[in-house]
Amino acid sequence: MTEPADMDIAAAAKRLAEGELTAVELLESCLDRIVRVDPQLGAIVTLDEDRARADARASDDRRLAGQTRGRLDGIPVGIKDIIADATLPMRAQSRTALDDWDGVGRDAASTGALKAAGAVVIATLATMEFAIGMPEATGPFAVPVNPWNPERWTGGSSSGSAAAVSAGMVLGALGTDTGGSVRAPAAFTGTTALKPTRDLVDTAGVFPLSFSLDHVGPMARTAEDCAIMLEALTGERFDLLRGDLRGVRIAADSLDRYAERSDPATRERFSDALRTLSDAGAEVITVHLPLYDELSAAANIIQLSEALSVHRHRLDRSWNDLSPSARIVFAAADSISASDYVQAQRVRTMAAKRYDGVFSEYDLVVTPTSHLTAPRLSDLDPLRPLSPITSMHTAMWSPLGVPVAAVPMGFGDDQLPLSLAIAGGSWRDRLVLDAGHALQLRTPHHLARPTLPFAEGITS
């Protein structure tokens, strides 16, 4: 029988509503999973079992009193360790002190929104230092490994969020996405995530990486679950997914020409996904997207420049405490001039107008999220922190601020997950998720669970 921890949010919410499951039972299932798998997975930074149990009991009490707050009420979730919580310590996975940041000690807007919807926030989840660079193998924080294969990385920087959802430690998680940080780890772990439209989800209380590119996004097992979380995060209605794409025009670009390397199965899985979207009623048209290299470069320059501006004032005293890859990122940023940053922003504006045209002609654009499955941890080089983005197609969307989902589309030849990117025009987040939902109504990819070979008794 499926353990409660293996359910998606929608299924768990249904069982909670029907009285077949309590929030306490659901939480205990997740806590049991954490005890069994996290020593190997390394997804959790700080876990507060006592607070979680109290919040789960409160959720059950609300339900008994007929005062439930919706489908997220009683659902165990986690938050990335750069998103503040009123009582869970937030370290941005850094040895350096965050004393001069005023976000510590109170809920981020997104954390508060999930709590207000009744979600049980049980833990902070691992990332890389300040959500940049590479995991630090010899540092004081655990490096999350991929539940599908512990020799592989989860991707980053919402690494722990993806690992925790994939392994059933939580049913949903908050991540942040500046150049692909919810989409890449979702792609590598067979989970689903959304980088929402810029400014749709409040980033207040998130330790900044790049103020003009940072997004907060939901990570879960399905597009429907992301919609449930997005509803709580925004107060808007996102729960009306139909899975019917009749009348929707989708531009499809394989981006094969930009893949330095590719899993042999990527092309076939992408074609399968296009057929499925077509079966759901969409009109799918093959296109060549413009400005891929330029947008990717602009994203990189803007991100590095804005990140350096956050940390520049304390680098002289914190340098030796920084992780090797954070040092490389900041040092690389130092070589970018002010005019380069301004030019990157000009290109961004020009590209945004160009893509306004793309999204006036097509409702959605789909591409592979990456041409490769999860990289080997042994291949990561902290002195080359940008190397994992090779053949990863997330950065181009970031400067545009449009909503982009990462949705499982099957497996590579190495039996690791592959992912479809679904992008829409600004504020069309629901349509993006609806396309993901349509895919998931017709395919089993999101239902696959890692076997967690290092955790006895779990064969999900």
């Binding site: 400005l291 290299d293 330029e294 470069a297 602009a298 990189n300 320059i301 520049r312 680098l315 002289d316 340098w319 030796n320 090797p324 040092r327 490389i328 900041f330 040092a331 690389a332 130092d334 070589s335 970018i336 380069d340 301004v342 030019q343 990157a344 922003q345 000009r346 290109v347 504006t349 020009m350 160009r354 002195l383 080359r384 940008l386």
Partner: protein, 68 residues
């Protein structure tokens, strides 16, 4: 003349007081030509409107903040 990227990187870091190690400087220097090329490409794009604001400043002032 081929630029000495190692020396260039070392000098830039020294100017702002970043105490990078020799290993880090070498790694940065190796990636430096690629970064310069990607930056240079941004100046070659057609369609960029130089007369328009590249960045707009939108001050958000609450009523509370506006009070003397």
């Amino acid at each position: 003349m081929t630029p000495d990227f190692r020396a260039l990187v070392a000098q830039q870091l020294a100017v702002v007081g970043i105490p990078a190690s020799e290993e880090e400087i070498v790694a940065l220097a190796a990636d430096y030509p690629g970064m310069l090329e990607s930056i240079a490409a941004l100046y070659r794009i057609d369609g960029v409107k130089y007369e328009e604001a590249a960045i707009t400043f939108r001050p958000v002032v609450t009523l509370e903040e506006a009070q003397p």
